[in-house]
Subunit: 608 residues, 2 copies
């Protein structure tokens, strides 16, 4: 036995007992002839006291940071207790120690605030993982995992493993593929999600399925994406949207309770996709704060109408507004006294390439009831007051207005709203606001290909009331310019996203479960019957043998953990993440393979 206790375990009750501990040397401090060592393991830190009589041993076998040692001694009550750590009442009066393994000097400090840069910490990930900050993230991840499994188990869900070596069915994201040695010339694909398998399990009668499972997408990586990521993947039979919403609100409430000790008892609000886009400019609003968008003028196809509410601003001779497709405003609370420098900085902010606007118009709603704007020469104070009031501004607020093409302007206004919320401290790390976004469009128009693509995925059911529209209309888009007038633009999906603090943490839908409708969906996406049968024949076939109504949801496990952990980066919550080029710099993977492997797989490189 290497130890009688771990380093986080000893308390005052253990005083005077003989103990053996093992762990890492965190610090070595000399006080005169006495040496203090903080010994660390996963469970905590225990102070060791090495008296003068051990100095000969320290001379012979000196100890350094991150050395692994085993010590034997007695636990003693401390004179200087440390109330900051659970073991702070005792220390070990060491009788002897053994060095189990030495350590070179680590390339960065193993402390909460480390001096190591990103690249170095990725290369030495095994050392970065020692840091308390990272360890806490992985512990949180495990707590979420455990909480989710318990809840799902108690609700009769079964964990059923689905295969990883499946069939490549490119539609949506790019597949990672795996050459098959036993079937030369053929490839497996790694699953982008277990979508079709969980649907087959419903056809098989398993009723409630779940899995916490790795998924793979070969996409160009942004900072918050990984080529392999984890989903909490769930599916239920004989359910309507409301059943799923209830079940998974329960899951998320349970996770809040188990992991954060938060009783999230408030009603989880719901918003249509249209309202989200209209009021917040994106489909995953952060509702921890208001500052909703005022649509002064818009090309957005809201409630199936092209709305134009430009009466307040049009015709004043201000060409930027007059000529803009869309003009959007937000009222930023308490910022009417922004200086010229501050409004200039905001103007620069919206002009950055990531935001891409030409400029920013502001109206200061002064505390004294007057209004001051950057477009004073076009608008009377009454007009300014009317606009500001419509934007929900009160005295002391600053109204920010963006104008331009619909899509870019709306996105920019959304970003500006989030930025101002952040600057004003309205996006509190410890406040959590859940939201369902619902009634998404079923289809999106893919300009390059002049066809419809599934917004969620091709297995999502339209709203029952829209099924006739889908069946009775030809999906072909005659006039790409006017795709919004095609009936398919108005078809809503039986789909729902769960949003937490402005992040989509989960998304799902009620599925199509009838062969005819599924075939119609594939046809709507431009697939020929042969293609549909080749790619998804097994699913179409399964629907012939008594498929039940079913639906489900998948949570982005990495993202969920990062938000609960108060971080923007999912990488901090993955033990061995990859960088933005999809590389594991610790392993140095991917890497070349040898000739024998190429020969066995019957493939060769074809570098461009």
């Amino acid at each position: 036995m290497y130890r009688t206790h771990n380093c986080g375990e000893l308390r005052i009750e253990n005083a005077n007992s003989q103990v053996t501990l093992a762990g890492w040397v965190q610090t070595v401090r000399k006080f005169g002839a006495i040496t203090f060592i903080d010994l660390r393991d996963r469970y905590g830190i225990t102070q060791l006291l090495l008296g003068e009589e051990l100095n000969y041993l320290l001379d012979e076998n000196p100890l350094g940071r991150e050395y692994v040692i085993q010590v034997t001694g007695t636990a003693q009550e401390r004179t200087n207790k440390n109330p900051n750590i659970p073991t702070g009442d005792i220390e070990i009066h060491v009788q002897s120690y053994t060095i189990l393994n030495k350590s070179a000097v680590p390339p960065f400090t193993i402390t909460d605030e480390t001096d190591g840069g990103d690249d170095l910490r990725m290369k030495y990930r095994y050392l970065d993982l020692r840091r308390n900050a990272v360890k806490k993230n992985l512990e949180l991840r495990y707590a979420v995992n455990r909480s989710a499994r318990n809840y799902l188990h108690e609700n009769s869900f079964m964990d059923i493993e689905t295969p990883f070596l499946i069939k490549s069915t490119p539609e949506g994201a790019r597949d990672f593929v795996v050459p098959s040695r036993m079937n030369p010339g053929q490839f497996y694909a790694l699953p982008q999600s277990p979508q079709t398998f969980k649907q087959l399990l419903m056809v098989s009668g398993y009723d409630r399925y779940y899995q916490i499972v790795k998924c793979f997408r070969d996409e160009d990586l942004r900072a918050d994406r990984q080529p392999e990521f984890t989903q909490i993947d769930c599916e239920m039979s004989f359910v309507e949207q409301e059943d799923i919403i209830n079940m998974f609100e329960g899951l998320v409430r349970r996770i809040f309770k188990d992991v954060k000790d938060i009783d999230y008892t408030e009603v989880i609000s719901r918003m249509t996709w249209e309202d989200a886009m209209w009021q917040y400019g994106n489909d995953k609003p952060d509702i921890r704060f208001g500052m909703q968008i005022l649509n002064l003028k818009s090309a957005f196809n809201r409630n199936n109408q092209i709305e134009a509410t430009g009466e307040l601003i049009n015709g004043a001779g201000f060409g930027v507004f007059d000529n803009a497709e869309t003009v959007l405003a937000i009222a930023v609370p308490g910022c009417s006294e922004y200086t010229r420098k501050q409004t200039d900085e905001l103007t620069e902010w919206v002009k950055r390439p990531q935001i891409g606007m030409q400029g920013l118009v502001f109206i200061k709603c002064n505390a004294d009831g007057t209004y001051k704007s950057s477009v004073d020469k076009f608008y009377s104070e009454d007009k300014l007051k009317a606009i500001a009031t419509a934007a929900g501004a009160k005295a002391g607020d600053l109204v920010l207005i963006l104008a331009g093409r619909e899509e870019r302007t709306r996105k920019a206004t959304s970003e500006l709203r989030l930025e101002m919320g952040k600057r004003l401290g309205l996006r509190k790390e410890n406040e959590f606001k859940l939201l369902w976004v619902m009634d998404f469009p079923l289809f999106e128009y893919a300009e390059e290909e002049n066809r419809w693509v599934a917004r969620h995925h091709p297995f999502t059911s339209p709203k029952p009331s829209d099924i006739a529209t889908m069946i009775n209309n030809n999906p072909v888009i005659d006039n790409p310019e006017k795709y919004l007038e095609h009936p398919y633009s108005n078809i809503k999906a039986n789909a729902y996203d769960m949003v937490l603090n402005g992040n989509e943490i989960g998304g799902g839908s009620i599925r199509i479960f009838q062969r005819e409708l599924q075939e119609k969906m594939f046809a709507a996406l431009g697939m020929s019957t042969e293609e549909a049968n080749h790619k998804f024949g097994f699913l179409l076939g399964a629907f012939e043998y008594g498929a039940p109504p079913h639906g489900g949801i998948a949570f982005g496990f990495d993202r969920l953990c990062s938000i609960l952990g108060g971080s923007e980066s999912i990488r901090d919550f993955i033990a061995f993440p990859k960088n933005n080029s999809g590389r594991d710099v610790m392993l140095d993977a991917p890497s070349e393979i040898d000739e024998k492997q190429f020969a066995e797989l019957q493939i060769k490189l074809n570098l461009q």
Copy 2:
């Protein structure tokens, strides 16, 4: 809401309540004007009674097997109760039903004993999964999963996910590889196990890790192998072999209790690898029965000596024995009265190519104390008696003797023992016998390459007493004929396998945790320093920064489930298995990929 109850839930207490159920039509039976339907879902079967007044509906919307329907009615006490099913006290007097989905006639019957052949059931796996026999297997699998997670959680293990897109380090089995689009010319590999990652997690101080995780090996498939399989993968720090054995005996006892309601309280016996080979002819003995092997003569290098105990049989002029490298016997209880036909059949059995022996010698130990043998002309009755007695035979037993080359003969005798055990009903499905096999050789000699390979894997530690032998001897094998005389042949590993009913269900080892020893190990396997650094530099590097002593184990989850479920085939316990060519015949995967994919990955086919 599609249902108020599921089909396994209603009891006599629910009589007279209004209910709505949904499920599959299992059977439709007419009794005069009344129709009885068995409605099935995951939870059970409920009887529906459709009175005469619904016949018009049945005429309009006839019901067939596997139709999915929703019914509303009242639960009523049955006159003919069915004690065989939990819902057997009630039936539903149906007021109305809706067909949610029709079903074509299934290609085989959805019953415990189905008429579908293997191929058909694999193709329509989603229907096969409906059968109770298969559903029970997946339920057992989930129960084992849940039990293992609970035990490991209670013992402070943390589930930490390790990556799937890693580095190809061919050594041992063949890797599946994944071309990287973002890093043209380079490939990821899919993990054969998370071995190095779990070791890194120990270096990182996580102390107790587990994962139930998919692993991948691109090997030619035998009936009981799958290209993707699942492990319960565990690792612990600051442990010796005994700590691991205790912890994982606990795990298996817990699984027995939770899943099979068996109190496996007996001591789990231990056997050295040498004893296993000597007494049972293989390294995973089925100890549910005795019938141990008598080594009449052997080239097996037991206890570091070439033993030859041929005095009983040599020199009698029977060339087969005189010239054989090895002669082995088993005493089969109660079979002395086997007829000529029966012994001939056994002779044919050992001559089959899978066994590959030239013939079989037998000695009948008759009830009257006489002995009769197929080699009477060479051996006196006294000699026969001496041999039979040495083999442990009693009056009434049949001694079976095989002779030939050591390896083949030992394997054949082991197979013959298992076959006789099976025929005599000694391998009872409901009896479970656990066993640790320990002290494996660290190295195996690879004839083709004339070098050592790691029997377990290159991270397994030698026994402390053998470390000096390893360090002080040159691994090069000068005389391949006499590799058994090389000191490396005698080095034992700090490794252990857990065996259940003759199957290896888990295996592990104490790991090397010092850079020097790990380098020596790589060198022993014929790896150059560059190669070792290229493949495993991250691990060697990690060992420089305070690696703790550690060890672990991995259980074959599919196999464990199949044994607990009383089946020989792991496929029956996998939701979507592949066939012997690695194909998923339901998906028709692997399959061709399209030109765009080849172009993006910058590879092409090179078919031979």
